[in-house]
């Protein structure tokens, strides 16, 4: 279970998160919705441990263990996976090489041997099929020349392969057409499991038509200002964020 208490975060001296608290029990899927500039991406980067996101106050724990004192790779080893809003391109490193390296790093952290090549390829093929991706794409430089939709699918494929205990989806729906959105959502839904929590960060309600959250939180001006069931997302869709004291940027 992810537990965030009174989290304050500054970026470049500017205060972005101002006392955010959130409990995400194991096996649940929570959505974080909020207007632009509310601090949604700051929350995901802070949880993943990106440099430059300075925690000035508060705590974040995963299954009772402090996250904030760990390096990004240590957090990954603990099961934190961030699906990036803008996945990076890694020229010259085939996706398969990248994923195998990541998987082995994780196994090593757990004291396990490296995965055998046939087993790895079998898993990768199955994951690619599940996300309707051409396996040959995995032999190309990671994300190089991929479309926005392909990059997002590649993120989910990595999540499938790395099997995280906390999956953070940062604006996974952005840049996706309706077909890609359906495929990616299916991939995410297949990842739902009693021992995995998900934080779905989104600006729009439409993603939540496909990925049904257990709870919805409204993030505005650096804090959670309202929490409720899935109906809260529909209400936000109808009425916007005005009610929470913020003007929706055009």
């Amino acid at each position: 279970m992810l537990s965030i208490q009174n989290l304050h975060v500054s970026v470049g001296g500017k205060s972005i998160l101002k006392g955010l608290s959130l409990d995400l029990p194991q096996g649940e899927v929570h959505a974080i919705m909020g207007p632009n500039g509310a601090g949604k991406s700051t929350l995901s980067y802070t949880l993943a441990g990106r440099a430059g996101y300075e925690v000035t106050e508060g705590s974040a724990t995963l299954d009772g263990q402090d996250l904030l004192s760990l390096s990004p790779d240590e957090r990954a080893a603990k099961g934190v996976f961030l699906s990036f809003q803008y996945p990076l391109e890694i020229p010259g490193v085939p996706a398969l090489t990248f994923i195998r390296t990541a998987l082995n790093a994780k196994r090593k952290a757990k004291g396990r041997d490296e995965i055998a090549a046939p087993e790895f390829l079998k898993l990768a093929r199955a994951a690619a099929t599940g996300l309707k991706m051409d396996f040959e794409m995995l032999r190309r430089g990671l994300n190089v020349g991929f479309s926005g939709g392909e990059k997002k699918r590649m993120e989910i494929l990595q999540a499938v392969m790395l099997s995280p205990s906390l999956l953070i989806l940062d604006e996974t729906d952005s840049g996706l057409d309706i077909d890609a959105l359906r495929i990616v959502s299916e991939g995410v839904n297949n990842l739902r499991s009693p021992d995995r929590s998900m934080l779905v960060i989104t600006h729009y309600q439409r993603l939540l038509d496909h990925i049904k959250p257990d709870k919805v939180h409204v993030l505005a001006a650096g804090r959670i200002v309202a929490s409720g069931g899935p109906e809260l997302a529909l209400e936000l869709e109808r009425e916007g964020y005005d009610k929470y004291g913020v003007k929706e940027a055009a």
Partner: protein, 490 residues
């Protein structure tokens, strides 16, 4: 910028002590008197029992060298070298060359082990049945001590032996080609090499023969203050093919050690030579102290029509690297390729590149250079592409990419392009990028440690060149990339 800061911190933490090949083998050495004079030259020639013409050749080179000035045009900074303050000859004390591995000094074998000479090559040296075929001519300091597979090579007429041996057994071949690609007075360091070279490899592939195995040589500098001056001569006769691998490491030393090798490649009609190098000499400690000075002249002469040469190099070592493997494209439709990965870290300085001299019609050349600078190092690509009036239809494609890690290093690209006819096509592309914090964070988020992330990103950057290396070399080279940037992060 924290990731980059981390990288910079780690680069600062680079310590020479970590150099995996920093060890000294205690073997009795047979030294020439310290210093350089005509007598030193005579001593070396006498030690090698060389023919009179060879001594004359060396002495003439020495005379020319005395009148030459050390070049200063490269972007390199190093204190003046005192050429009198070095030994010019050191050979393991062996009365007769060993006939088998059992006769080889166990210390030398131990040295190979520490060098990490791959298991398969140790197998080869140990004569394991069914081991892959590599002919290893190991240059231990200055004298070749082991040559394997000579008999098998001899069956197809391939000569692969120490050049000192070639001088005894095939003097006519050596005399015909030695210095014909890199003339005695070509440059300061090549001239010095001509005067005092101690040993090196000699290869002759007869017409129409495809060399049945990869030829490989390990060079290693082992005696303190011993200049190492190899001389390599490879001749591929008409329609011949050979792939030659050269790998280098050297133990840790306090004084800078001078290394000035010369490699000459001769290609007749339709001949092909692939020459691959992995150079991992001691780069010095974190202040650059004690590293190797590497001044190398490598040149291929494509004399024959449709001949083809390719240089592939992975340069990670040495304090100073001054090296421009070149191609003289004399034969019509001959082609030259240069694939290079140069990594500098700590205080290393590399000034390296190539020369593609297009003399014949419809000659082609291709240059792919990947430079990686970290720490406080400086990495310069210097290249010349020229076409002469008769080189109608000459074509070149050049791509120079530089990657910077941290903010205290430098990358420079100095291309010279000279087209002396109106029918040449030269293309040049260059990029300089900094290792991105975003990419590093992305890798780390997936569970990679910062060092592992850097190694992965850098290996991606150099992949195009890595793929040009023979498979068995590429695996080692990939590890070497990680090792040379090790301690450069976290």
């Amino acid at each position: 910028m924290a990731a980059v800061k981390e990288t910079v911190r780690a680069v600062e933490a680079l310590e020479g002590e970590k150099y995996a090949h920093g060890f000294v083998t205690a073997i009795e050495q047979d030294f020439a008197p310290k210093g350089l004079s005509a007598d030193t030259v005579r001593f070396i020639s006498a030690k090698k029992n060389e023919p009179e013409w060879m001594l004359e050749w060396r002495l003439a080179a020495f005379e020319r060298w005395l009148a030459m000035d050390e070049p200063d045009w490269a972007k390199l900074n190093y204190p003046r070298i005192d050429y009198q303050d070095a030994f010019y000859y050191a050979a393991p004390k062996e009365k007769v060359g060993p006939k088998s591995l059992d006769e080889v000094d166990p210390d030398i074998l131990e040295t190979y082990k520490k060098l990490g000479i791959p298991i398969r090559e140790q197998e080869v040296l140990a004569g394991v049945v069914g081991s892959p075929k590599y002919a290893v001519d190991a240059v231990f300091d200055s004298v070749s001590v082991v040559t394997t597979f000579k008999a098998e090579l001899a069956k197809v007429g391939v000569i692969f032996c120490p050049i000192s041996e070639a001088l005894q057994e095939h003097p006519e071949l050596v005399r015909q080609y030695l210095g014909s690609v890199v003339p005695v007075s070509d440059n300061y360091f090549a001239c010095l090499n001509a005067a005092v070279f101690s040993d090196g490899s000699f290869v002759y592939i007869p017409p129409g023969v495809r060399c049945p195995m990869e030829l490989s040589t390990y060079f290693r500098i082992n005696a303190s203050s011993t200049g190492q001056f190899e001389r390599t001569l490879i001749i591929a006769d008409k329609g011949a093919y050979v792939s030659y691998l050269e790998g280098c490491t050297a133990p840790m030393r306090d004084e800078n050690q001078l290394h000035a090798a010369v490699v000459e490649l001769v290609l007749m009609d339709d001949a092909e030579i692939k020459y691959s190098t992995v150079q991992n000499w001691y780069p010095g400690d974190k202040d650059g102290k004690g590293g190797i000075y590497n001044f190398v002249t490598k040149r291929a002469d494509c004399r024959g029509d449709r001949s083809k040469v390719s240089w592939t190099q992975v340069e990670t070592g040495s304090a100073i690297t001054w090296k421009y493997p070149s191609c003289v494209l004399r034969g019509a439709e001959s082609s030259g390729e240069f694939y290079s990965i140069a990594i500098t870290n700590g205080r290393q300085q590399a000034d390296t590149g190539t020369k593609m001299i297009h003399l014949g019609r419809d000659t082609k050349s291709r240059i792919i250079s990947k430079g990686i600078s970290a720490g406080k190092s400086s990495n310069t690509y210097r290249g010349l592409v020229s076409s002469h009036p008769k080189a109608i239809g000459a074509r070149n494609f050049t791509q120079c990419d530089s990657l910077l890690i941290g903010k205290d290093c430098g990358a420079h690209t100095v291309p010279y392009i000279e087209a002396r006819n109106g029918h040449s096509t030269f293309e040049h592309e260059a990029t300089t990028t900094r290792l991105s914090d975003d990419q590093l964070f992305y890798c780390q988020q997936r569970g990679l440690g910062s060092e592992e992330a850097v190694a992965l990103l850098v290996n991606g950057f150099v992949r195009e060149v890595m793929q040009k290396l023979p498979m068995e070399f590429a695996v080692e080279a990939q590890k070497l990339v990680a090792v040379s940037l090790e301690g450069s992060v976290g």
